[in-house]
Point group: C2
């Protein structure tokens, strides 16, 4: 555990990302079951947002039996609620959170060509968005900030 890569906390290799996710859930009083581990591994096996059904297929293959979509949805929702994964609204898709440890509002740059997503943290921007909401008399709970466009490779 020695990756002092970022000012805001740790990034994790794919290997110990699961460990971090597990720790995060446990410390929230949630269980880390075999199915949850499998779902997380499937999700973390992609480097782009994937649909719940893609995850379902991957989990089914990994498990050797058919897992129902709704079981996967339950677990993905749990992951999102605990900051272990994020939902990319403009793609109806999910992606593992690279640093479950710090509770940022996320900004996703989603490529319309390759489907990849880059995770950007900019607390000033997200703070400004929350402030703008408050200024309008609105109580912000969950900012959704995404940018559709073309990534560096696809531009």
């Amino acid at each position: 555990m020695a990756h002092p890569a970022h000012s805001h906390g740790q990034h994790h290799s794919r290997a110990d990302l699961a460990a971090a996710a597990q720790a995060r859930l446990k410390s929230a009083g949630e269980q880390w079951t075999p199915l949850r581990a499998t779902v997380f591994a499937a999700l973390a096996g992609y480097d782009r947002p994937v649909s719940a059904y893609d995850v379902t297929d991957a989990v089914s293959t990994a498990s050797g039996r058919r897992i129902a979509a709704n079981s996967v949805y339950r677990i993905l929702d749990l992951f999102v609620a605990n900051n272990v994964a994020s939902r990319v609204e403009s793609a109806n898709a999910f992606i593992a959170n690279v640093h479950p440890d710090c509770p940022h509002d996320c900004i996703f740059l989603v490529c319309d060509r390759c489907g990849g997503a880059t995770h950007v943290d900019d607390d000033r921007i997200t703070g400004d968005v929350r402030s703008a909401a408050l200024a309008a008399g609105f109580t912000p709970e969950r900012p959704v900030i995404e940018v559709r466009g073309l990534c560096a490779n696809c531009a």
Copy 2:
């Protein structure tokens, strides 16, 4: 046409909003057909984001015959492409654009309780989001900036 309410252009009463939408489409070389007018009227008849299927039902009722969802989708997509309506990604829903005349990136504050949405314009924030994308080597096409939470009435 005398509502000098905003610094950035005109808001429209429900009555002439349709006229503004029509003008916008025509100037883009698109037709303003009876069905498109009906779809726009249905959409503008709501003050909150509504699903394409809600619009479909409203249009069907208004027309006295069954209109297929995909016809409505086609028209809604056309509206969105021409800034006459917006898609609220986090709600899989559409809403008429209050000022089709100026091509802002929009910020929507979406109430989790009543489903209402407030349209906020803040070019500094949306500009910052685009800048952050560019700084990451990403070519922004369409920022999606929404805030889920509670509106003033529901808080």
